[in-house]
Amino acid sequence: MSTTVIVRRLGGGVLVLWMVSVITFALIQLLPGDAAEAIAGDYATPEDVERIRREMGFDRPVVEQYVRWLLQVLSGDLGNSLYSGRPVTDLIFEVAPATISLTCVAIVIAVVLGVTFGIIAAIRQGSWVDRAVTSLATFGIAMPNFWLLMLLLLPFTVMNNWLPATGYAPMSRGFGTWLSHIILPATALGLASAAELARHARGSAADVLARPYIRTARARGATGSWLISRHVLRNAAIPVVTVLGLHVGRLLGGSIVIESVAGIAGLGTLAINALLQRDYVTVQGFVLFSAVVVVVVNLIVDLLYGWLNPKVRA
């Protein structure tokens, strides 16, 4: 991929982030009453609210407030939580590992199941395997992930004590312990993506398998894994990677519900609690952080295109 393309992509990413910053800043401005009312809480007098308004600079012109806030954010300071007073960056980095683990395992599950079954279905087009994969995929896409999680939790944690019922354990407590906590939520989170990936993988692999060069390769004696890994996978990967890139954002969003059902203290729980506690500074930080993650992931996806398909590098 040429430097100009990368620079253009980066520029686009920065533009999106700037727009996100404007929107998240507006979030605080659009509060009913204003942020001072939210900070003051239920038992404050009107005088208290006025004092907070002055102290926090909410009485200044909006543009001045935005510039000051933006400079602060650019220096890595997302402000302090209105609820606990702790720096929002600390709160985010404290719980990010749980959500990143959850999302990564969900992606692994989505890719492994989605690509495997998609390609099996493509190879056996029209067979019962193909039909089973296609209908299961439709089912997987239609199923709400939190409901799936509840169904999974029932046999594994409530009826039998096979897996921990709630919470997250960091990898430092052992790989098995870590995985035992997130395997069910990650499965519930990843299955819908797996289903969608399976359909895309099936489509693009079927497309590639019908190409003349595959016939040529087969004529030269290429079969089985050799054929799939040399000739099909890479060519069929572009639509799959595109979908995967889009799904990272969706998985991050999905983790909000999944974490709260599973009792995991992650970014999703942080966001929900912040909303319930009217901690708008934390909500703002969460939105900004998620936007950065999604923009960066999409940038990586763009760069992957170039690696996967030399034609895009121009």
């Binding site: 809480g41 007098t45 019922a165 009792g263």
Partner: protein
């Protein structure tokens, strides 16, 4: 599978590997069997602390604060005062000076000595503007150190309620060396039985501090609190054995019992009710407010929405609280009587009823209950227009008196029941936007605040509650919700404190 070959098989085997490592890497079996003096309590918490600094904490935080901070005066589960860091207290006959005798030989976690200077430093920082204790401590004029074990509080007005204030957050003693610590909210330093060893967004872990002055009374070695804000997740963690005890919702009781858990229930000074703005609609008329008391079928609401766990009340305090007046709910002034409500409205010149705006929060329980009240009030001719409001907007409306009525949850016992009277029943109260005066309440309030005799205080309080009910209170109580804790049979000695002074002092883990 053979034809598909290596690439396809590998990812599947990755999954198999993941599954295998889960199967053999599960959590070690919890070791709850331990001797009764060094058990571990694993608590599933329904809330997260706002701050572990008592000056910045919120209503439901004493649960997290009391293990770390010993208060000057303790309150037992029923709300009675018992000595703690202060061994004795003496209020002058005019209730203008309070002399505290302090326990000797007590140190804080950081080694600082607990003495009169430490008490003065704590109360003085609590009085500074901008923290949550400022208004509770506003009656304190000055703090005088007599000698290392004696301190005198000079009060601006007769204020016996200062004792309950000192039994709450304002009396929780912070090490004088840590008063200005920036990180006190996450790294607390007190003189209590436990020290915080881990605090993050998923858990709060305490370990017993062996130099605690009353070390022998503490039977837990560790308290491990896990924040499980989702009710279903909390119950699942209980059933799964991840936690030993946790608060649950009333309608989860059956499921908990079926899973072999035990239940402990208790009352709390917390009620649902209607906040009224007496300067709006017809609410300035006491007859209308009395009609509201009679028009609500509290028992029906209790059964329909709270599984019988929300005690019907026409007063701010639950039956087991010392400020509660027994029998008021069945008295002629308090009982459910829609006929009487219609008569009162007719007497008020409103035979055809009237329109009433009512705001409520967005939580489902609130909405369902408020709708039931709407239907009940319609029976007597009060046409309620319900509006659900986002919380900040609702709090702003209440603060500025920009509402007619609002269905609300109200905590009534902290720091002292007299604070509820000040906030709701006196003209300058925070939650009395119509500035309604109830004849007789203020002299009784002064009378109550002029004595620290529990009997005399209770009597004055009972008279205030009865007087307010007869006069048509500017706040209509509905019911007081019970607290329900589910726990394994190994957890013994749990006590639900009526004023939220949850301590784990009496808790131990049984051997069997």
């Amino acid at each position: 599978m053979k034809r598909l070959g290596r690439w396809v098989v590998t990812p599947l085997s990755v999954l198999a590997l993941l599954a295998a490592s889960v199967a053999c890497g599960g959590e070690p079996a919890p070791t709850t069997t331990s001797s009764s003096s060094d058990g571990i309590l694993r608590w599933g918490s329904s809330s997260q602390p706002t701050s572990l600094d008592p000056r910045k904490s919120a209503t439901f935080d004493p649960l997290f604060l009391l293990p770390v901070y010993d208060p000057l005066i303790r309150r037992d589960a029923k709300g009675n005062l018992v000595p703690a860091l202060a061994t004795e207290w003496k209020l002058s006959p005019d209730a203008l000076t309070l002399e505290l005798t302090l326990r000797e030989g007590v140190t804080f976690h950081d080694g600082a000595a607990f003495d009169a200077e430490a008490v003065k430093a704590n109360i003085d920082t609590g009085r500074q503007p901008g923290n949550n204790l400022t208004s509770a401590l506003s009656v304190v004029d000055s703090v005088e150190v007599v000698d290392p074990t004696h301190v005198v509080l000079h009060l601006k007005t007769p204020s016996s309620h200062i004792l309950n204030v000192l039994a709450g957050e304002a009396g929780m003693m912070i090490s004088p060396n840590a008063l200005n610590n920036e990180d006190l909210g996450t790294n607390p330093v007190g003189a209590g039985p436990f020290k915080v060893v881990t605090y993050n967004q998923s858990s709060l872990i305490y370990e017993r501090w062996d130099d605690y002055w009353d070390r022998d009374s503490i039977k837990l070695k560790r308290i491990e609190m896990t924040f499980l804000l989702d009710e279903e997740a909390r119950l699942r963690a209980l059933i799964n054995g991840q936690v030993d005890a946790a608060p649950i919702r009333s309608n989860q009781k059956e499921q908990a019992l079926a899973a072999g858990l035990e239940l402990t229930t208790g009352e709390a000074a917390f009620l649902y009710g209607l906040m009224l703005n007496t300067s709006r609609s017809q609410l300035g008329n006491p007859l209308v407010r009395k009609a509201l008391i009679h028009a609500i079928d509290r028992e029906a609401i209790n059964q329909a929405f709270f599984d019988g766990d929300c005690k019907p009340v026409v007063q701010p305090f639950p039956p087991s609280h010392w400020a509660h007046v027994p029998g008021l709910e069945d008295s002629p002034d308090g009982r459910y009587d829609p006929e009487r409500a219609r008569e009162l409205l007719a007497q008020a010149g409103l035979p055809n009823g009237f329109d009433l705006e009512m705001y409520m929060g967005t939580a489902p329980t609130f909405q369902a209950t408020a709708q039931a009240i709407q239907a009940q009030l319609a029976e007597v001719g009060i046409r309620v227009n319900l509006t659900a409001m986002e919380n900040t907007a609702l709090a702003t409306a209440r603060r500025n008196g920009e509402f007619e009525s609002s269905f609300a949850s109200i905590q009534s016992g902290r720091p002292d029941p007299s604070q509820f009277v000040v906030d709701f029943y006196t003209p300058n109260g925070l939650f009395n936007p119509g500035k309604t005066t109830i004849d007789g309440v203020e002299p009784l309030l002064q009378q109550m605040r002029a004595t620290d005799d529990p009997q005399a205080r209770a009597e004055a309080m009972h008279e205030i509650v009865t007087t307010a009910l007869k006069a048509g209170p500017p706040m209509t109580p509905v019911c007081s919700a019970l607290v329900v804790w589910a726990h394994t049979d190994k957890v013994k000695g749990l006590e639900i404190a009526v004023n939220y002074d949850y301590e784990f002092r009496s808790v131990y883990i049984a051997d069997n």
